[in-house]
Symmetry: C2
Subunit: 375 residues, 2 copies
C-alpha cells in the first residue's frame, strides 16, 4: 500500500500531504466543528421510502457509520414494515409516518433532514412537501423526471430556507475523486477522450424502474446517470452538445419511453469528448479518461463496495490506486449534515441534479429526433 | 496455459477439438494443398510503398514467416532505398520499379500479388493499375478515400479476373477471432452493447496521415477503422444507422477534414448497439462485448504483438484467453495467397473494405450535419 502511494506521489510530483486523498469524513468533521465551535450534535434523518436501497445501504449506514446524523424518522406506505424498522433501529413510534401523515413531520424536532428514497416520479412531491415542513432534503438520483420539477424543488427549498442535496454518492468515493484530481491537475496532460459506461441486466419486469410514470425513463435515469455524472466531473465543464441512439431488444420488458440501452456522446467546450453507454441489458461499469500522456480509470466504477482505480503513463505501465474504502452513503449523509451544521453549501445541490435531468432530457430528445442537440 | 484452456473449454461446454482456435496458417495450408493437388509454390509479392509498415512489418514477414508467398518485387519513388532493399531481401534488380515504370509489372511472371502500402489517397490508382497489369491485389486499409473509388477498384479487379483483398490483419488474429466466436455462438448469451475504441497520440504534424488529400480524413480513416471493424465483426451484421460527433483541440495539427477524435455509435438491425471512439489525441485500445450473461474483450486489441483477451460470466470471475501469437501480416498474406492458389474467395474482399468506407463517409456526414444517418 505504501509502495503504491509512493509510486503515485513520485509519478505526480506531489508531496505526501498534497497527495492525500480528499476523504470527506475528515474535512466534513472539521467543517462542522469549526463552524459551530460547540460539541457536535447528530442531526436526525427521516427516510422516505423503505425499499431495497434504504434497507441494505442507507439504514445500516445511519445505524453504525455516520458521525453527524442518525436515523430518527421513517415514512412508509406499509405500516407493518415501518413498525418493524422502528423497533429494529430504535426509532420512536411517534416518528413513524405514512404518506398521508407525512406533512406533520414539521412538528417533529427530532427530524432535521428528509432523505427521499422513493421512485423517481415521486421525488418532486416529497421534496417539496419536506421543504414546506421546514426540513432539509437529501433526494436520491435522478433528482426528478423533468427540469420543471427540478425547478419547483429548488424553489421550494429556497423559499423554506432549507438546503437541498442530491444523493450523488460517488462524489464522496475516493477512487472517483482521484479521477477528478488527475484530470483537473493534468497529471497525465490534458484529458482528450472520456469513456463512461454504466449498466446492469435488470430482472423483475414489474418493478417501478420499468414503469415510465414512476421512473421517468429507463436505464439512463437510473444507471446511465452515473456515466453522465462521471463524464461531467472528469471533464469539469458542462457539455455543449449531445448525440444519442437508443435500442430495445425486449419490447415486453421495455415499453415505449423506458429505454433498454442508450449510447450518448457529449462534447465539452474545451474540446474534451465523452462516449457514454447506459444499459439495463448488460453489465457496464467503467469510467476512463484518455489523456495526452497516459490514461486513468475506475472499474468497477460504481459498486457500493470494491471500486478500484488505476492509471498508466505513456509507457503504459499500469499502477493501481489504493484508497481506504468509505461507505458512500455514510459519507454523503455526513457531508450533508456537516454542511447544514456549518451553513456551508453542499457540493451536490439541486442545481447539480437539475443539470443531469436537463442533459438526460436532451439525450432522449436526440435519440427520438435523430439529431445532435445543442445544450 | 492448459489450465486456462481447460477453464474456457468447460465454460463454453465445448470439446477441446471444437474449441481449438481458428488458426489461419493451418487451414490455409490445407486449402492451398487441397486445391492444387500439387506441391505448393510460393506466390510472388511486390510491395508498393516502402514506408514504415513495409519496413518493420510486411517485408520481415515475407522474408521469414510466410509459407505461401515471398517478396519478389519492390515499387518505390526512392531508387536508392529500393536498391538497398533489393539487396537486403534478395530481390532481382529487374523486379524493382518506380511509380512511372510500375505498369511494366504486367510482364513480370515473378510477381503474382501487388500489396499496396501507400497513403490512402493513392490506394485506388495503384490497385487499379495493378489489376490492369494482371496482378492480384492486397490493399492496405482503409481501402480508399471514397465509395466511388472502392467501386472502381472492385470493377477493375473483376474485369481483370483477379482477386482483391483488404489488409484487415485482425481478421487473422486469434484473440479477435475469439471475440467473434463468443458472440456468434452466444456463449454468454446474446451480445447487447459493444464498445470499441482505437486511438494513439500522433506525432509529426507533417506526415501524410494529417494531409486530407493523402489520408482522406483523420484518425477515423487510419485507426478508428479498427473500432468500426470490431463493432461489425462482433455484431455480425451491418449497421442501420450511425450517429457521430468530432472534436479538435489542436487546430494547427488537425486541419479541416482531418479529424482529431471522433465518437460514433452504430445501431444494428438485431438490436445490438456499438459505442465507438477513434482518436489521434490519446491512446485507445479495447474491443468489448457486453452480453446477457457476461462479457468478453480484447485489450490491447490492435497491437502488432501482445494482444490479450479475457471473458467473464455472470459471477464476473475474469479469465484470460490464451492463444499462441501469430504474425498478423504473415497470416493475412498467406491466407490471400492460399485463396489465390485454391481459387477460394478471401474473407476480406474489396466489398468488405467498401462497407467500411461507406460507413466512415456516413460518420463524417453525421458529425458535419448533426444528424443520425440512416445507412
Amino acid at each position: 500500500m505504501h509502495e503504491r502511494r509512493g509510486f503515485l506521489r513520485s509519478l505526480m510530483g506531489l508531496s505526501a500531504a498534497a497527495w492525500a486523498a480528499p476523504v470527506v469524513g475528515a474535512s466534513a468533521t472539521a467543517a462542522a466543528q469549526g463552524s459551530t465551535g460547540a460539541p457536535n450534535r447528530k442531526l436526525g434523518v427521516a427516510l422516505v421510502g423503505l425499499g431495497s436501497l434504504s434497507e441494505h445501504q442507507i439504514a445500516p449506514a445511519l445505524a453504525s457509520k455516520t458521525q453527524h446524523c442518525k436515523l430518527t424518522g421513517l415514512v412508509s406506505g406499509h405500516p407493518d414494515k415501518a413498525k418493524a424498522w422502528a423497533k429494529q433501529y430504535g426509532v420512536p413510534e411517534a416518528n413513524v409516518y405514512d404518506y398521508q401523515s407525512f406533512d406533520r413531520i414539521k412538528d417533529n424536532p427530532d427530524i432535521d433532514i428528509v432523505y427521499v428514497v422513493l421512485p423517481n416520479g415521486m421525488h418532486a412531491e416529497y421534496t417539496i412537501r419536506a421543504a414546506q415542513a421546514g426540513k432539509h432534503v437529501l433526494c436520491e438520483k435522478p433528482m426528478a423526471v423533468s427540469v420543471r420539477e427540478c425547478d419547483q424543488m429548488i424553489a421550494a427549498c429556497k423559499a423554506a430556507g432549507r438546503q437541498l442535496a442530491i444523493a450523488y454518492r460517488l462524489h464522496f468515493e475516493p477512487n472517483n475523486l482521484e479521477l477528478v484530481r488527475l484530470a483537473r491537475e493534468k497529471v497525465f496532460g490534458a484529458v482528450k477522450v472520456i469513456e463512461a459506461a454504466a449498466g446492469f441486466r435488470i430482472g423483475d419486469p414489474n418493478q417501478w424502474r420499468l414503469d415510465k410514470k414512476l421512473a421517468g425513463g429507463g436505464s439512463l435515469m437510473d444507471i446511465g446517470i452515473y456515466a453522465l455524472q462521471a463524464a461531467r466531473y472528469i471533464a469539469g465543464e458542462e457539455p455543449v452538445s449531445v448525440s444519442a441512439q437508443t435500442t430495445t431488444t425486449d419490447p415486453v420488458k421495455f415499453k415505449p419511453g423506458v429505454d433498454e440501452s442508450v449510447l450518448f456522446s457529449l462534447k465539452f467546450p474545451g474540446g474534451i469528448i465523452a462516449n457514454c453507454a447506459s444499459s439495463y441489458a448488460t453489465g457496464l461499469n467503467r469510467f476512463r479518461a484518455g489523456a495526452e500522456r497516459g490514461w486513468f480509470e475506475v472499474s468497477p466504477a460504481l459498486n457500493y463496495v470494491g471500486i478500484k482505480g488505476r492509471a498508466a503513463d505513456q509507457s503504459n505501465a499500469i499502477k493501481d490506486f489504493d484508497f481506504a474504502p468509505v461507505d458512500h452513503f455514510a459519507a454523503e449523509m455526513d457531508d450533508f449534515a456537516s454542511c447544514i451544521l456549518s451553513g456551508k453549501p453542499t457540493r451536490v445541490p439541486g442545481e447539480e441534479g437539475r443539470r443531469d435531468v436537463r442533459i438526460m432530457t436532451a439525450i432522449y430528445q436526440s435519440a427520438a429526433t435523430n439529431k445532435t442537440i445543442t445544450l
